[in-house]
């Protein structure tokens, strides 16, 4: 008589099992600095209910979290704090850049605002919008779950492979030498620098 696995046993890869466990138990660290934070709160509240995707356990200590949601603009004074909090989070961890400001600086193209957090910390999912609706944030959680299920390994090898900065190398509109202001601004090229 052949001996095989019975119906109460399944055989799978350990990676797959770890991914399945991890993706359904994301603990967000809400790094909410602006109006995106309000949408983040709405996402956590009963109407949209991020608990349906297993990510309702928001903790305000980075030591207890594995998903950083950067909601809002990050200024140059805040960025060292953001980097420190990111480094304090235990592995495995992921980062969602929520909204136009966190992803690109948004409308705040000024001396103080960092033009996209991906220039200084790694980002897994970007959410467009100003601010994004809670549905978009939920979709980003679903997408992140798909990414974890597809690429995750129990040893974290997929993280170790990302050795380079993933940000755009230069600003699309960089500061030039003759950076004089003109009013009301050249809206064709979306710059306020005079040629």
């Amino acid at each position: 008589m052949a001996v095989g696995p019975s119906d109460s046993v399944i055989v799978t890869k350990l990676d797959l099992l770890a991914n399945w466990v991890r993706k359904n138990s994301l603990w967000p660290m809400p790094f909410a600095t602006a109006c995106c934070g309000i949408e983040l709160m709405a996402t956590g509240a009963s109407r949209h209910d991020i608990a349906r995707f297993g990510a309702e356990a928001m903790r305000f200590s980075p030591r207890q979290c594995d998903l950083m949601i950067v909601a809002g603009r990050v200024v140059m004074k805040m960025l060292p704090v953001l980097q420190r909090i990111w480094l304090q989070m235990p592995e495995p961890k992921w980062c969602i850049s929520m909204g136009a400001c966190a992803s690109s600086g948004g409308v705040f193209d000024t001396y103080a605002v960092v033009q996209g957090i991906d220039r200084f910390i790694p980002v897994d999912i970007y959410v467009p919008g100003c601010p994004p609706r809670p549905e978009q944030l939920l979709q980003s959680v679903i997408d992140l779950q798909a990414v974890i299920q597809r690429t995750g390994t129990i040893t974290g090898a997929e993280f170790r492979a990302r050795t380079r900065s993933e940000a755009p190398q230069t600003l699309a509109l960089d500061i030039t030498g003759a950076d004089r202001l003109v009013a009301p601004g050249n809206y064709q090229s979306a710059t306020r620098l005079q040629k």
Binding site: M76, K77, D109, Y111, V114, F120, T163, I175
Partner: protein, 167 residues
């Protein structure tokens, strides 16, 4: 004490040449030099009843039409008894723009003077703790000056980059 009475008392004390007045709608302003601004404010507070400093701020008049001085610093005073308002305005220039601190008259001027110093680089002489209030300590420029580029000089990019492999 009304605005007119306050102006006549100031002219009586400091001379008519030292006190210039301008008006824009209901905004009545007294222009004084930086050497007499402290004495004028002290007179307004102690003798004329303008006991509250409602606002202390500044502007950079670089490239402004018909402007003769670069930095304008103004003090908005309120008389808490009758609600009268008065604006005292003074001007400072490069290099080393400086005005006397009014911290000894109003403690509330502390952070307002620090903010003006932070944004425009106007030094308030006699301020007990004049350091930056909004920008980080290592910031070297004065960002609200008109000759400072709106996108800065690269301060927003001067950070270490953390890659995923090393975090």
């Amino acid at each position: 004490m009304t605005y007119g009475e306050a102006v006549s008392r100031l002219k009586e004390r400091f001379g008519a040449d030292a006190i210039k007045t301008t008006e824009f709608r209901d905004n009545r302003r007294i222009h004084v030099g930086t050497d007499t601004v402290y004495a004028v404010l002290e007179c307004l507070k102690r003798d004329c009843g303008f006991d509250m400093l409602a606002e202390l701020s500044a502007a950079d008049y670089l490239h402004y039409p018909n402007a003769t001085d670069r930095y304008g610093i103004w003090y908005v005073l309120v008389n808490c008894n009758d609600g009268a308002r008065i604006v005292v305005k003074t001007f400072a220039n490069d290099p080393d723009p400086a005005v006397p601190s009014v911290y000894s008259l109003w403690r509330g001027a502390d952070w307002m003077e620090r903010e003006v110093y932070d944004m425009y680089g106007v030094v308030f002489e006699g301020h007990p703790d004049l350091r930056r209030i909004l920008m980080p300590d290592e910031f070297t420029a004065y960002p609200m000056r008109k000759d400072y580029p709106m996108r800065g000089r690269g301060e927003r990019h001067n950070f270490p980059i953390i890659t995923r492999a090393e975090s």
